[in-house]
Symmetry: D2
Subunit: 225 residues, 4 copies
């Protein structure tokens, strides 16, 4: 089951209102209640990983396995500045610059270079979207909703076996962020995909599927003598 959060994908837009990621956590809880699901596997990437971590911190008993790709335990002042930059560009309604500021940086330089033609097609496809004020305002609200994100002091509440996936050319949530998550989440595993950027799911789709399916379907094992 894949979930679009408010202001993401095909979900409703939350026009004229500021919010934090708590509201996205509430969406998950409501949905699970509605579906009468008491315990689920949760997979989150980037912003979705932050919401997933908040959910796991607040409702640890509802999480069977947790998988976080390219995430962080808090929005650092540095990361917040990246967000401010995106928002400032968004306000100019200049979709081409918004694309240049937000998209190349999520790929590793080598992947970007190896897929230049695909990137150009993707740019053409995204340009009208990125020029749409409704989209840009939604992105601004999304970006702002993450600014206060900080679960550093609560990660010890997570009890589910957790897989953390880092990419060593991820410049938005660098490997150091995943190492900190690994240190704080007691029952966690960490793997690094080398030569890959923030959008590891796009750069290495087979690894993404393998890691998720492998981890949520594996019994928690200990090696015995």
């Amino acid at each position: 089951m894949r979930l679009d959060f408010f202001d993401q994908g095909q979900s409703d837009k939350l026009e004229n209102s500021a919010y934090t990621q708590d509201i996205q956590v509430d969406v998950i809880v409501s949905l699970l209640k509605h579906l009468k699901l008491h315990k689920v596997n949760v997979v989150g990437i980037s912003y979705g990983g932050e919401v997933a971590a908040m959910f796991a911190v607040k409702y640890p008993f509802m999480v069977d396995r947790l998988v976080l790709f390219n995430s962080t335990s808090y929005t650092s002042p540095w990361l917040a500045e990246i967000g401010h930059q995106w928002n400032a560009i968004g306000k100019t309604r200049d979709g081409a610059t918004y694309y240049k500021a937000t998209i190349p940086v999520i790929y590793s330089p080598s992947y970007y270079e190896s897929k230049l033609e695909w990137m150009k097609k993707r740019e053409a496809f995204l340009l009208p979207v990125f020029s749409n004020p409704v989209f840009l305002d939604a992105m601004e609200r999304l970006t702002n909703s993450a600014e206060s994100y900080d679960v550093r002091n609560q990660l010890d509440k997570i009890t589910a076996p957790t897989l953390l996936v880092a990419a060593d050319e991820d410049y938005l949530t660098p490997i150091k962020n995943q190492r900190e998550l690994h240190k704080q989440i007691k029952n966690s595993e960490l793997v690094i995909i080398p030569g890959v950027g923030h959008a590891s799911m796009y750069e290495r789709p087979m690894m993404f599927v393998s890691l998720v399916l492998g981890f949520i379907n594996t019994l928690d094992t200990e090696y015995k003598i």
Copy 2:
């Protein structure tokens, strides 16, 4: 299905004969023929990874998915020297020293330290084995059988989707070895488990199972726009 090679585990000993890893490849082929299996998933670790790579190079059409943990594309002069050292100690029949030379080095320092009590028990358990001339001679033949291993110029023959797993505190087959395999095997993925040594399977059993099951059960996917 788990396979003990000659001179390993509970397999026959090949006393009084020198051999190379080709003989172990032949064992795999014979077994698969006997079982009427035409195409299989192959998982190899360390020495087993070398045999698996040789098998995949020689019989690429018989390999569905290939997973190599802590392996290398050739036995470097440096690695050969480690083997010579083990053999020289083995000849003294001093099991305690053989243990000290071969076992701590396969673990990361931090894992070794965190499991000291378990290590001591394991040492006590292995000491009689490591003092047994039959075992030591088998180990010497095994070690020697890998000395000529070199598939560097043949890795382009491997067609199966391949997962390479490296550990950044693996001192026998360091990360650089896996990077070279990754460069040469065209359809390969590489992940690194940080803070882990050569015996990654023992240090991170859940990751081991997750990676293997995840990779061999995932369809080979490409991301579409």
Copy 3:
């Protein structure tokens, strides 16, 4: 001797003209001729490192020692896109956004966070500069002048002992760029400063001075048995 290139620092602006980094190389040559210097130590950082590499490729006999911090052997399409983004923002004359797009990203997240107050002061200091059309146009010309930079096939011409300094949180010219320089420049050394970003000179000033002075004052030594 420290040199401001055209369109940098207190040098002349090259208004109304496009140029490549060749012109900056010519500046160096003219200056050295004027000073009657036949062979010098050359230290370059980032853009300056690119000019230094071009100089060393074209006039290898004039270079005694070469030190390149946070450099690259070519402007990749990915890096070019970062430049396009900067230029697009520059054209809006919005100094605050230009600052947010160009400055935080050159520091490591942890340094940025540890120096927040200093950063705020620096932002206030730079804001009028970054809002000045003369400065922004100069920056655009500078950025454009690097777009065609590519010395990948000529690095074997460099004969001077060369020190390459990489930083593992450098997101503009990542460690991979320095590894490629290291592979191509025959007489080169590579060191990595961990936990540091593109502006390694600012983050680790003592290391910067140590590395430069140490390297240019050391005889080229070989270890003898």
Copy 4:
């Protein structure tokens, strides 16, 4: 000024006596008193780095600059086992095996391979030394003297600007050890030499000299706005 410790190089042997590294620290202090030197730059590598760290912890006011190559803040149980192995082999008086156990492992695999001929000459040169009971007994005492080494709780006493040099193929005192030193020594810098083993001084002699001379001759600088 280069100092051979007891049981090292051309210094006296301490036959029939066990000791710890404290005795080597006392040697330094006595020598400096004798030479009427009140404050010095101290450079230590491996075992020498441990003695240097102990000296800096005990006599911080006597240290101007401290440079530690390939060192650690304590002898871990894992590292101690390596020492036990060396001692056990030493007792057999088999110089060839002692060489194989202690020498290849201090080099990176790639350096070892690139210098095979030199290594063979070095092996021939060292074989009589490594077969000499006087040498082997001295090595055993040296190795044992480091077993209780642990300055982890005292590193905050070091006040001198300190340079820590790590090598990412150092398997005896891995990079993790230098990171811990870096975290604990307040005024410290860390650089990593990639592709190099424990014997970084031999593998990269020019870098060794550059780093030492650069660091001890550089004023402690802060970058001002």
